[in-house]
Symmetry: C2
Subunit: 332 residues, 2 copies
């Protein structure tokens, strides 16, 4: 039975939406949801028909969104976040999910569990929609100053997630670059290309516009670029969707909008991060899913289910194996 440790106190809408999401997940899978946090805050939210596969694990402290990650997790040893990550380390849970402070969530997992052997830098992978489905971009973790060799690690880790959790068949990985031909880009990109080109799964360079046009699975870049691209995309989408909203007529004429609104539902669903169920932190010795800070119950539910799936599909072992294979071949 897969057990997911959910940080009930982390996120803009904690604990209400987090607990609600945990309950929803519990009703949809046969694993167990462990709500980690203040029992006095959680208990009243469980309601009368609380599923049997939900339980509370107490933790007395909370790491706030604005706190400095490394410092916060060192100081607040009994925070819901650190305790939830600890349950995975002690073998009492199989996956760790938090919508709290992203840096602290990543640090809890990284410092608590350590990196997969051979992985230099764990990465946060984010899902993007395009016409063909979804693809994974990593590293979107905002950790600066990457090494080209890490692009190869990111590809191996992203491919494992795409195959095991997103259900992609023989996924390919591309290198995000300013041109498609080999030899394009800055010194960093050229070196990363050489390393990746030794693999069958390598799809070559891809330009950022083409990610939204072609059927792609995994796109790698350094975290500085990844964060800027990710947030620029969010910004454009928000801007356009906002303008569309402003264009909707008010008053009775608003009714005219209804058929189109229905037609746009799939798009809204596609650009809705709550559908994706969070971003995995890949390359650590355990399953860690980082949910969006503003996650509602649905987003939390999907993050919990993704965490469970990642465990059941052997994500961490798959990453371990493919990294080891490259080390054996002398590529990594």
């Amino acid at each position: 039975m897969t057990r997911v440790a959910l940080d009930a106190m982390g996120g803009d809408r904690a604990p209400e939406q987090i607990v609600l999401g945990g309950l929803q997940a519990a009703r949809e899978f046969d694993g167990e949801v462990i709500l980690v946090g203040d029992p006095a805050a959680i208990e009243p939210l469980l309601g009368p028909d609380r599923p049997a596969n939900v339980r509370i694990h107490p933790a007395s402290e909370i790491i706030e969104m604005h706190e400095k990650p490394a410092e916060a997790i060192r100081r607040k040893r009994d925070s819901s976040m650190v305790v939830a990550a600890g349950l995975v380390k002690s073998g009492d849970a199989d996956a760790f999910v938090s919508a709290g402070n992203t840096g602290a969530t990543a640090a809890s997992a990284l410092l608590g569990w350590g990196r997969v052997k051979g992985v230099d830098r764990p990465a946060i992978a984010t899902q993007f929609p395009n016409r063909h489905g979804r693809f994974l971009l990593l590293d979107a973790g905002a950790s600066p100053d990457a090494d080209p060799r890490q692009m190869l690690e990111f590809a191996l880790m992203g491919l494992a997630y795409a195959e095991r959790v997103m259900g992609k068949n023989k996924p390919k990985a591309h290198l995000l670059n300013i041109g498609e031909e080999p030899g394009k880009g800055n010194a960093f990109a050229k070196e990363a290309y050489e390393l990746m080109a030794k693999h069958e799964w390598f799809g070559g360079n891809i330009e950022s516009k083409e990610m939204f046009r072609k059927p792609v699975d995994v796109v790698v870049c350094d975290a500085f670029v990844g964060n800027l691209v990710l947030k620029a995309c969010e910004g454009v989408a928000e801007y356009i969707m906002g303008e569309i909203k402003r264009a909707v007529p008010t008053g009775p004429a608003k009714l005219l909008w209804l058929p189109l609104k229905k037609g746009l539902a799939p798009l809204r669903q596609q650009v809705d991060y709550t559908e994706y169920g969070g971003s995995p932190l890949l390359g650590v010795n355990g399953v860690c899913i980082i949910a969006h800070g503003s996650s509602d119950a649905k987003a939390v539910k999907n993050a919990v289910l993704n965490g469970a799936r990642a465990h059941e599909q052997g994500l961490v072992q798959a990453i371990r194996d493919s990294v080891e294979a490259d080390i054996d071949k002398g590529i990594l």
Copy 2:
């Protein structure tokens, strides 16, 4: 009288749309449009009521979109592009506009005119829309491996364009970064921040999502990042607008779409690159406007008018002055 040398043979829709755009511009300003290219191809497109302020300057060769820039401009000395740039150098024109091969356009200006004294690397600046108007992002030129010092140059050049050509009053420049606080980002960003922080016009770091939310004027980043962010934004916008199109009901129900379509017109106009009139190459000794490869007549017209405005507003001298001021202060 401002004279704009327009590469009549460059662009996916050359020479028809280019010549048409040149004619439209000629009707809207009191300068002169010099159509550079094959007279046999251009002449028939001028029509019966050709404005008096349009003339043809012959050039026998054409640089194609796929050609290698440096090689092409060296080999094709009588290409419409090289000849048009040459007219600025010889003092026979005041601005150069091309929708042809971007790299070759930039190289024609850069190698033909040289850089403004003190400018290490010229930059291509692109306009983006947001709720508050338009802002300028540079460098979007896809030239790799920048130096942090160049971010300061980009800011000075972008500010000059924002003030002189976009009509912004006391514009501010931001550094594109993965966080807003000082000290954020990779080593490159930190160094660039220090250099920029010495100026009153510095607005601090800005995250890529916030560019689309706040009233910003100028945002600087290295060309690798700038190109990736620019094209990702284009990709997302194209994807969303495409999905909206697909959501429109077919058949008679399509009529329901009409009111909303009207409401969305301003947005379509905002995300429509043809409105912007091309991207200036800043930091060279002359006015060079690079129009989108797929420019239609309207885009070309706006590029020509922007080129004329840049000349009339003394853009190049303004850049020269602000770069020199920073050199005198020992900052650059």
